[in-house]
Amino acid sequence: MRKALLSCAICAALPLASAQAEITFNGFANIVAGQASSGDTQWGYDDDVDFKQDSLFALQASTDLGEGLSATAQIISRGENDWEAEFEWAYIAYDINDNTRILAGRQRAPLYMYSDYLDVSYAYPWITPPEGVYNLELSKFDGVSLSHNFTLGEFDTTAQVFFGSDNDDINVQGIDVNSSFDEIFGGTFTLNRDWLTLRTAYLATDLSIPIPVFDELAAAWNNIEGFGGVAEALVIDEDKAKFFEFGAVIDYNNYLLIAEVTRINYDNMPLDTEESMFVTAGYRFDDVLVHLTYGVDENTINGIGDTLPVGLSPELDQLIGFTRQGLEFRNEDSSYYTLGARWDFHPSASFKVEFSKRDDDLINQDTSLVRTALVTVF
């Protein structure tokens, strides 16, 4: 009796201590196999069956520190990075009240509709969100964000603002370069009611990507008097990039319709604008969702290559040739469609299969890719 009383008294006296000790673990995993059509490459796959490109394993630890304070860390190990584990999220959250929350630390860059749970394949229809739209190299940042929920008439609304920076190795034409996204600043606004969700996002950042080829070309142009402007257009050094997004989801009974459009404006960089969009339509038959996606990706490159004077000297012509060739590297005009199905065969797992066909209009090439995935949350 006394013992019971004592332990009870301890319970009552130490609510904070016990709250601190309690760490919750959750996780998710995507095991994806894919193979591109014979002799082709598409979205990181070639014509050998590959299990690494999109496979990942993630573990999330979270703890409630009481009084609105909590800490969360999400570690993801990706096949693509030889299963090296990395922190994708690591933040302290503070709830000012039921509707307002501040996050400080590493968090997702909320560019897209599905950014916040980009890797949780269980949470969306496709194996991965449509590649063309979701291909920007900025997926996370270190900084602060503030989100506020409120109701607007019949709509549940979330407004979010964020500020931070990110440094990451990104792969440009087979080489890893250290990119930096400085002074990332942006906001998102989401409206949701029953079956309708509308979202928009804006982000601006100072971009630096030291690409050796462009840096060498720029150095060559800097040596020629009067062509400093060309050099400026080739180096990506604290140049402004502005990102705009609009997305909509209609999830009505058995029908699903998802559409998203993005546009990026680059100031004085090899790439001028990048526009992407996709539309997905789906229908649910009990445990099986069948969906069809159509997407378009168009990049326009800096037009400075066309203004250069050809024929003055063979050396200059050669440099102009290299420059034009260099600028072409991210030029894009392509479209694709993906036909897929998701089968919820288990309360915590789904099986997905997809066939994608991509049409590159610039080089007039068709490629296709078949992927299957086993995705789970736990």
Binding site: T24, N26, F28, A58, Q60, S62, S70, T72, Q74, W89, Y91, A93, D98, N99, L103, R108, D116, Y117, V120, Y122, A123, Y124, N149, E154, D156, D194, W195, N253, R284, D286, D287, D344, P347, S348, S350, V377
Partner: protein, 138 residues
């Protein structure tokens, strides 16, 4: 043709039996708040956090795959079990919220709601007793 008739009859019987599994949304008897269908749905999706009088909402779930939960998710949340699971996965892995506490049986839900002033739950309408207040039946 002859075979079809008993079959359709069996199907009709089965569907009517399913439809008769009524779900009652229950609160503590001391809770005087009125709550709309839309708000019930939002409360069980973690979007609505307070009752009209300002006290915080403590929504509890029945066990996964229980008859009451399947019906509730279909009729009130208008989602399949997999869709609800996907919804909570989104919230969980973005740090926006944890899935609701799950209780094992209707009796557990009844006693929890009866003893928790700000609780809201749901049970098979046939299980309801006078320790709780029914705000709505589906």
């Amino acid at each position: 043709m002859k075979l079809l008739r008993p079959l359709t009859l069996a199907v009709a019987l089965a569907t009517s039996m399913l439809a008769s599994a009524e779900v009652a949304v229950i609160v503590n008897p001391a809770n005087a708040n009125s709550i709309s269908d839309n708000d019930i749905s939002r409360a069980f999706l973690g979007k609505l956090k307070t009752f009209a009088d300002g006290q915080s909402i403590k929504a509890v779930n029945s066990k996964a795959n229980s008859a009451a939960r399947v019906e509730f998710e279909k009729l009130v949340l208008k989602k399949s079990a997999a869709q609800v699971k996907a919804y909570w996965s989104k919230r969980l892995f973005t740090g926006k919220g944890k899935p609701l506490q799950e209780l094992g049986t209707d009796a557990d839900v009844l006693s929890f709601v009866a003893s928790t002033p700000n609780a809201i739950g749901y049970v098979d309408a046939a299980s309801v007793n006078d320790t709780v207040k029914v705000v709505k039946s589906f």
